[in-house]
Structure formats: C-alpha cells, structure tokens
Amino acid sequence: MKRLPPPMLWLYRGALVIYPSRLRYAYREQMLQTLRDAYRDRNIRAVHFWFRVYKDLVQSSLTERFKMVRDFVFKAPIAFHTVTLALVLTVLGAAAAITMQQMLRRGANQPQIDMAQWYAGEIGAGENPGNVIPPGYVDLERSLQPFVIFYDEQGKPGPGTGYIEQRVPVPPSGVFDFVRIHGSENVTWQPRPGARIATVVRRVNSKTPGFILAGRSLGPVEYQERLLWRMVMVGWVIVMTLLLGGASLLNRAQRAKPVAA
C-alpha cells in the first residue's frame, strides 16, 4: 500500500489556492481524501501521477472560473444585457458625435484655406498685396464674415480687411516662425477674450515676401458644436430612459411567468 508523503499533500493543499475559493472551501477535505485514495491505488509511476493531478488542477481551475463567470452572466441576463447595450450605445454615440465635431472643426477652415491659397498665388505671381486684397472692414469681435490680412517678412501688418478695435491684429510671432519653415499653418487664434478665430496662414514667396492670413470667426461653428452636444446629451438621456424602461418591463414580465414544475 502506497502512502501519500505528507510534504506532497501539503504542496497540493497549497496549490489548491488556484482553485475557485467557493469550491475550495466546500470540497478541500474531500479533494485531499480523494488524492490520498488515488495515490494509494495508483498503478502508474509517481511522476506521472503528479503530472496528471496538477494538470487536472490547472485545467479544472480555469474551467470552473470560466463557468462561474458564464453562470453569473446568464443568472442576471436582463441587467447584464442592459448594461452592455447601454455601454455600446454610449461608446457608439460618443464616437459619432466626436466625428461630427471634427468634421465641423475641419469645415470651419475650408473657406480660409481656399482664400489663403488664392491670395498667396496672386501675390506670389507678382501682384501688389494692396491691389489684390480688396478694401473692406470686418470687425473680428462682431462679424462672422471671412477676412484676409497680408503681413510683411517681419510680421508687420499690411493691407487687410480684418480689424479689432479699429486696428489690424497681429498673431504671435511663433506662428510666422513656424510658417517660414513649414509653408502654412492652421491656427485657432484668440486676439481678444471671446473672439476666437479659425485662421490659415500661408507663406508668400515673391518680390514682396511675407505671409497671408485668412480667418473667420469660430462663433457659428462653436454654436453648432454646442447644439450638437446638447442634442447628443438629450438623445442619450432618451435612449437610456427607453432602455431602462424596457429592461424594467421585461424583468417584470419575466417575474410574472409561472415557474415550470
């Protein structure tokens, strides 16, 4: 009769820590007794016996844990599926809203890109900036009209149509430094608190080198963005209310079902 060596028993008892705790507390003593019986009766070499025992312990621990998660999920299906659906809808809704916001933001630059390109082309072809840029007066704080300003090589303002407090505004010098190297830049510029402008700055290489800045107030775009997020929030609240209401009705209907004999 082969007796199980106590160190091996202690080792197995310690290894049971990987077994799910509920099963471990309920069956530990029975498992150890079964192990003693199996060791006593074994007709294979000890090394094979232990390999089989530990392989079974690892496999069954993983299997039981997986089944416990699965049972938990199916025990409360309505709650689980409601939460899952709510999460999925929230993530999809947020992704769609962010995409739309980005499209609005990119769209806000489009007329300025075209304007800056056209004016830079004309001045680059040898035209005088004063002749190309039409006379006009756009108050950056009040008007939603696009405007254009020419700056010389040192960044001093030349002819232009954009004004703030009756003066042509000058962007930070870092913008011109960047454009000197990279050719163009799209910047959100705030010359005054509350006056946010989407600008496109392009390098002009000609006999009158400098920079052309085309801009437009971000007011309409920011208004559309606020409107978008308000609609998203209202939509989200409606969808979540419907989801919770539906889940609650389903739960009530399920509870009212007679229990099968």
Binding site: L23, A26, Q30, T34, L57, S60
Partner: protein, 105 residues
C-alpha cells in the same frame, strides 16, 4: 442539457447503480466500460458541484468520515442519463448501419 459532456455522463453512469464517494466515482469513470474518462479531484468536485446545483446528483448525508462523502443520482439525473444513453444508442445504431466500424478494421 443533452448532449452531456463525457465527464458528466461518466459520473452519472458511475452513480447509476449505487451511491459512491469521490474516489470510487473517479475510479469507475476511468474504466473503459465507465467511459474511460481520467480525471483528477479538481475536475471531479467542480463537476459534482454543478451537477448538484442542476439536480442531477445529491449528497446522501452518509459519510465514513468528514473527508469521504457519498453521492447518489437523483430521479431527474436518472432520466437525463437514460435520455443520453438513448441518444448514444441511436448514434451507435447509425454507426452500425453505415458499417463505419467494419470500414475502420
């Protein structure tokens, strides 16, 4: 519930005739006529726990010491075992009809 997993089927089969403790179930399941399912204590007690919760087996309350408890098949467990055996019999009859076994020789 059908088809049963080989482990569940062999445990039910081991308990079909008489109540048994864990090691006796494990030993009988490992025999060729018991299903030839070699399992360790981890698989055995995890399966017994689920089978008790499904009402297929139950503890007898009989124990020769705290460590060795006895299990028996329930009426529902017998019905499930019978249904699975019938399913397997139909499969075997199909195997015979198609002469699969002769072809394998």
């Amino acid at each position: 519930m059908l088809p049963l997993s080989p482990v569940v089927f062999s445990i039910l089969l081991a308990l079909a005739v008489s109540e048994k403790h864990g090691y006796a179930i494990m030993k009988e399941a490992a025999l060729p006529e018991g299903g030839g399912v070699v399992m360790g204590p981890g698989t055995l007690y995890g399966s017994l726990d689920r089978m008790m919760r499904s009402g297929l087996v139950e503890e007898t309350g009989l124990t020769d010491n705290e460590r060795r408890r006895y299990y028996r098949i329930t009426k529902f467990g017998s019905e499930v075992l019978g249904a699975e055996a019938a399913r397997l019999a139909r499969v075997m009859s199909s195997v015979r009809r198609k002469a699969v076994l002769e072809g394998a020789r």
